[in-house]
Symmetry: C2
Subunit: 596 residues, 2 copies
C-alpha cells in the first residue's frame, strides 16, 4: 500500500468505496474514472496542494530564521552574568552586587571630573541617561549622577553592542579614562572632558520609563523655544500628577535634586542657628488625646479601643517643655491638618520648624531670634547651595529673595495703611494686564471687587490671602524687601493664648512672618499666667477642659515666653519662588493624594 | 422709763403684769415681792447676766483683733503689682511681664557664677526652690536654674516677709551681689558663692505642688541612707505614674534636665556625622495608604472618608528616596507602633533615627558608617555633655558605656556559639544570687529553664530577649565591650527584602546593633532587583500588591544599598543605663498613656 504524499493516511477514507492509490488514479483518464474514484482523486489533489504550501512555508521560515540569526550574530554579543568575584575577567556584562567581596576600587564622582584629571583612569557608578550608536563600533553615552552629567565614549563592536541595548536610567559601573575634548559638550554639565570607557558593567537594568527625565526636566522657556523652532513636534509635557505618581523617577531631575538638598539645608541651617543660641531640640508626641486647637481639621485615629488625634501643631507641648525648665526649644517634625484645601500652598501633612523660647522683658527678644534664624537660613542657602539653587533656577526661573537683618517690621496698623494707600495702584496694573491678555471676566470681576475693598481696609480688619499678596508686592516695590514681619495683630483674630498689647488691648503681642507676600509663620507672646489664660479662654469661648495639662503647666511658676512655627515646605517653596508646595514636599499629601 | 442694762427693752414684757423697774424691784425685800414682781426680777437678773457675758466676749474679741493686727503689722508687707514700667521704684513686688518695655537689664546664669565674680551685681531669673526664714529679718533662699542652684540671702524685714510667702517653684527676678562664703554650701551646685539679694520680684507664683522636686530628684541610695538615719520618717517616693501625670514639674529635676539635653545631643551628633559624610536629610510621610510591614501593630486613621495608616518605619520611603538618586539619606522622625506591650523598652510612639545609603561593593561599607555614627554619638556625648551625664548619674547611677571603633562584630553563628559556651556560667551565677536573695520560685524556675535551653541554642535558631541579655553580659565580660554588631542573621527570620548571603543562603546580609545586651537597630542590604524582590516576597508569602510603588522604585535602575533605623529613646536609655524607656521619652506614649 502506498501512502499519500507526506504520509497523510487518506486511504482509510477512500478505501470505503475505492482501493486505488493516488498514483494509480492519476494514470486513469478522466472519462474512465468512476464517481468514487473521481472524488478520491480530487481529495488526493487537495492534500497534495496543502502539503506543498506547508513545505514552502517551512522553507521560508527557516530562511528568515537563518537571516535573523546572521543579523543577530553581527549585532549582539553574549552577555555574561557576573559577580564581584569574577567581573574583572570581562570588559562588560551584568554585574550583580550581592556583597561578595570588597574590590578596593576607588570611586570618582562625575562632579569632580575636570581637565586636571586628564589621562586618569576612574571608576564611576552612574545612570546611563541616554546612548547613541554611531556605526556599529562606537557609542556615545550621556552619563548622569544627581545634577552632574558627562559624556562617555565607547569604542569597539562588542562593548557598543552591549551598551546600545541598555535602557535609559540603567545603573552602570564604568572604568574609563578622562579625556579633554576639542569642542565643548553642551548637553552635559561637564563640557570640557569626556570619558573613554574601557569597561562597562550593568549593575541594575531599567524597564520602560513612564516618562523621560528630559521631558520632566524641561523649563517652560525651553518648551516654548522648541515649539517655536519646530511647531509640528510638540515636546512631551509631564503633568504634576504623572510626576507625583512616579515620584522616584521624577526626583531624578536636576531641579528636584536641587530642591531636596535645599530642603535638607533649610533644616540644617534652622537647627544650626538655634543650637548655637542655646536651644534644646525636643520631640513632642504626634498622637494626642484631644484635638488641640479646636475639633475641626484634625485627623482621628483608633487608639487601643479608644480614640486619639494627630497633633496639628507642637505648640502646647513646646510651651510645656519650657515650663519644664528647658528655656529654649525647637522641634522639626510632622504636622497634620485635615483641611480639605486644594490650594498651591496647603498640604495635609507637612514638616513644622517650630521654636519657643523664654524671654526676659519683651517678646521682641524672640522676634529678633526668629529674624536671625530666617536670615541665617536664607544667607546659608545662598552661600552653601549655589549649585542646587542654579539647578532649580534652570527649570523654574526665579528672582533672588530680597532680605536683610533686621528685617522690615511693620505694625499691623501700619501695614494696613500701606495696603490702603499703595495697594490700589498694583491692582490697577494687574487689571490692565488681565485686560491686555486673557481678559477673563471672572478674574477681572474679582480683581475689581478687590480694588474697591482695598482702600477701605480698616486698621484692625482681618487680612485675606489676596490682601497679603498685594501687600507683599507693595513692600517689594517700596522697600525692596521680600522678607518682613507684621507685628501687633488685632487680638480679636488671634488665639486665646496670645498676650494682649499692654498699651492697647485691641492688639496682641502677636506677629506673622512673610516671604514674598505669603505668610509662613504665626507667633505670639503666650499668656504665662494661668488665671489670665482662663479669663481669656472664657472670653473667647474656648473650653480648656480637654487641655487641662496645658493650663496646669502654668500653675507651678511660669516663665514669660513666645515662639512660632513655620512650614518647612513653604519656606523652601517661597525661597525658590516655586508655584506649588507639592514641588517642595518629598512625597506630598493632600486630601486626594496619599500615595506613593 | 429706765432701760434694762444695755438697753434691753425688757419692760414691755414685764408691764403686762407689773410696771416696776429692775432698780425698784431690787430695793424690795424678797418676802415682799408679789409673784409677778418675783418673776420679773428673775427675768431682769437673767438679762443682766447675759448682757455681761456678751460684753465680756466683745471685749475679748476686740483685744484679740488688736493683737492680730499688731502681729500682722509686724509680719507682712504690702505687696505691689508692678510692670516693667514702674518696678524699679520698688525693691520687691509682683512683676507681670507683658512686654511693656525693654529694661536693658543684663542677665547672669546661676551656672556662670564663681568666686571670680565676687562683689558683682547680677540680675538672675530663676525658680525659688525653697526658702527658710531665720528670725524675721533674714531669709535663706535656694535658687534653681535647670541643673544649677545657688543660695540667696535676704536681709531686712520687709523683703523677708515678702519672700517667705512665695511658694516653692515660684519664678523670681533677683538683683543681687555675688558673695563668697566661708563654709561650702552643700545643698547647692554653687558651693563657693551665694547671692546677697537686694531686689526680688515675683514674676510668676506657684500653686501647691503635686510633689516636691526634692522627692522626685532623690536617688535610691539617698533614699536608703535617709531611711537608715531616721527609720521613723520615710521620705516621700514619687511613682513613675505620678511623675508622668505631672511631667512638666517632673522635667525640672536635675536628672531630667540632663536626660533631655543628652537626647537633644544624640540627635545633633547623629546628624553631624552623617551630614559630614554627605547624607541628605529627608522627611517622609507618616500618613500612608497601606500598612507598610504587615497589617498588625499599625494605627489606622480616617482620611477624608477613607482610611490611612501611621508609618511604622520610614524604611520603604528611605529606599525610594535613594532610588530617586539621593545616594545617602537620613531621617529623624516619629515612628508609630500599635503594639500592646508594657515592657520597659516599648513605646507606641518613638523617635526613629534612620539612615539608608547606597554602597559600591559590600554592605559592610554601610555597617562601617553605622559603627562610626554610634561611636561619634557616644564619644560626643561623653565629651560635650559631661555635666548632664553627671546630673543623671547622681540620681540613676550607671557604669560608663564600653565602646570602640571599629566595634566588636560577630557573625550570628559565632555569637550563638558564645552564648552556648559562656552563657550557662552567667545564668548559674544569677540563679545562685536569686537563691541567696529573693528566692522567688517563679524567677528561679524561668532561669533554670533558660539555663537548660542555652547550651542547646542552634547556630541559626532565633534569639530571645533573655538570650540577648545573657549574650550582652558574656560580651561585656569577655570583650569588655557594651556596643557590638551581630552580622549575618539567619535569613528565615529576617524580612523578605533582605539580601541573602552570597555564600550561604541560610544567612542574610543582615545585622543587628546592640547596646548593653539590648537590640537597638536592625538593618540589612536590601534587595535592589525587582525580580528578585518579587521572588523573595512570594517565598515569604508577602503580598506586594499594596506596596507597588515600592516595587516599582527598583524597576528603573536601582543602586545597591543598605541601612538601618534605631529608636532614639532606646539609645539614650541604654547609654545612660536607665531602667525604663519612659525616662528617656519627653511625653511618653504607651497603650495606656496618651496624656499629657
Amino acid at each position: 500500500m502506498t501512502s499519500a504524499p507526506n504520509g497523510y493516511p487518506a486511504e482509510a477514507e477512500a478505501l470505503e468505496e475505492c482501493t486505488k492509490s493516488f498514483e494509480e488514479l492519476k494514470l486513469i483518464t478522466d472519462a474512465d474514472l468512476t464517481k468514487p474514484e473521481r472524488k478520491l482523486l480530487k481529495k488526493f489533489k487537495k492534500e497534495e496542494e496543502k502539503a506543498a504550501k506547508a513545505a514552502e512555508k517551512e522553507r521560508k521560515a527557516k530562511e528568515l530564521e537563518a537571516q535573523r540569526l546572521a543579523k543577530q550574530a553581527a549585532n549582539t554579543v553574549e552577555v555574561k552574568e557576573l559577580t564581584l568575584n569574577d567581573f574583572e575577567t570581562e570588559k562588560f556584562g551584568n554585574l550583580f552586587i550581592q556583597s561578595n567581596k570588597k574590590t578596593g576600587r576607588t570611586w570618582t564622582t562625575i562632579n569632580s571630573l575636570s581637565k586636571a584629571k586628564e589621562g586618569e583612569m576612574v571608576w564611576i557608578r552612574c545612570r546611563l541617561a541616554k546612548s547613541r550608536v554611531q556605526g556599529n563600533k562606537m557609542c556615545f553615552l550621556n552619563l548622569r549622577q544627581s545634577m552632574a552629567s558627562v559624556q562617555g565614549l565607547i569604542m569597539g563592536k562588542e562593548m557598543t553592542l552591549f551598551a546600545k541595548d541598555l535602557m535609559r536610567e540603567t545603573v552602570v559601573d564604568l572604568y574609563a579614562k578622562v579625556c579633554t575634548v576639542q569642542e565643548p559638550i553642551v548637553s552635559c554639565s561637564q563640557s570640557d572632558v569626556e570619558l573613554a570607557v574601557e569597561r562597562i558593567y550593568c549593575v541594575s537594568k531599567s524597564d520602560v520609563l513612564p516618562f523621560q527625565i528630559d521631558d520632566a526636566a524641561r523649563s517652560d522657556a525651553e518648551f516654548k523655544r522648541m515649539m517655536a523652532e519646530n511647531p509640528e513636534e510638540k515636546p512631551v509635557e509631564v503633568s504634576q500628577d504623572t510626576r507625583l505618581n512616579n515620584r522616584v523617577l521624577d526626583l531624578r531631575t536636576p531641579a528636584n535634586q536641587g530642591i531636596f538638598r535645599i530642603q535638607s539645608g533649610t533644616c540644617l541651617l534652622f537647627r544650626e542657628i538655634l543650637t548655637k543660641n542655646g536651644f534644646t531640640e525636643i520631640h513632642t508626641p504626634k498622637m494626642i488625646a484631644t484635638a488641640s486647637e479646636g475639633g475641626a481639621d484634625v485627623f482621628k485615629l483608633d487608639y487601643f479601643g479608644g480614640s486619639a488625634f494627630l497633633a496639628q501643631s507642637p505648640q502646647l507641648y513646646k510651651q510645656m517643655s519650657l515650663m519644664g525648665d528647658m528655656d529654649r526649644v525647637f522641634e522639626i517634625g510632622p504636622v497634620f491638618r485635615s483641611e480639605k484645601s486644594f490650594t498651591h500652598r496647603h498640604l495635609t501633612e507637612f514638616v513644622g520648624l517650630d521654636m519657643e523660647m523664654c524671654f526676659k522683658d519683651h517678646y521682641h527678644e524672640v522676634l529678633d531670634m526668629l529674624d536671625q534664624t530666617f536670615n541665617h537660613i536664607f544667607k546659608g542657602l545662598n552661600e552653601r547651595y549655589q549649585e542646587e539653587i542654579e539647578a532649580v533656577r534652570q527649570q523654574y526661573p526665579f528672582e533672588d529673595l530680597l532680605f536683610q537683618y533686621p528685617c522690615l517690621r511693620l505694625k499691623y496698623s501700619e501695614a494696613m495703611k500701606l495696603l490702603r494707600e499703595k495697594g490700589p495702584a498694583i491692582l490697577e496694573e494687574q487689571i490692565a494686564q488681565i485686560k491686555a491678555t486673557t481678559n477673563c471676566p471672572e478674574t477681572l470681576k474679582n480683581k475689581q471687587a478687590h480694588l474697591e475693598s482695598v482702600p477701605k481696609h480698616g486698621d484692625s480688619d482681618d487680612i485675606s490671602t489676596e490682601d497679603e499678596k498685594i501687600l507683599g508686592e507693595v513692600i517689594h516695590r517700596e522697600y525692596k524687601q521680600d522678607f518682613y514681619i507684621i507685628d501687633k495683630f488685632p487680638s480679636h483674630f488671634r488665639p486665646f493664648y496670645s498676650m494682649e498689647d499692654p498699651e492697647d488691648p485691641t492688639y496682641a503681642n502677636s506677629y506673622d512672618i512673610f516671604i514674598r507676600g505669603e505668610e509662613v509663620m504665626s507667633g505670639a507672646q503666650r499668656i504665662h499666667d494661668s488665671e489670665l489664660l482662663l479669663k481669656r479662654a472664657k472670653k473667647c469661648g474656648v473650653d480648656l477642659g480637654p487641655i487641662q495639662g496645658y493650663v496646669d503647666a502654668f500653675k507651678t511658676g511660669a516663665m514669660p515666653h513666645a515662639g512660632g512655627g513655620v512650614g518647612m515646605e513653604r519656606v523652601v517653596m517661597l525661597f525658590l519662588g516655586l508655584n506649588n508646595i507639592r514641588k517642595s514636599s518629598l512625597f506630598p499629601r493632600d486630601p486626594k493624594r496619599i500615595t506613593p
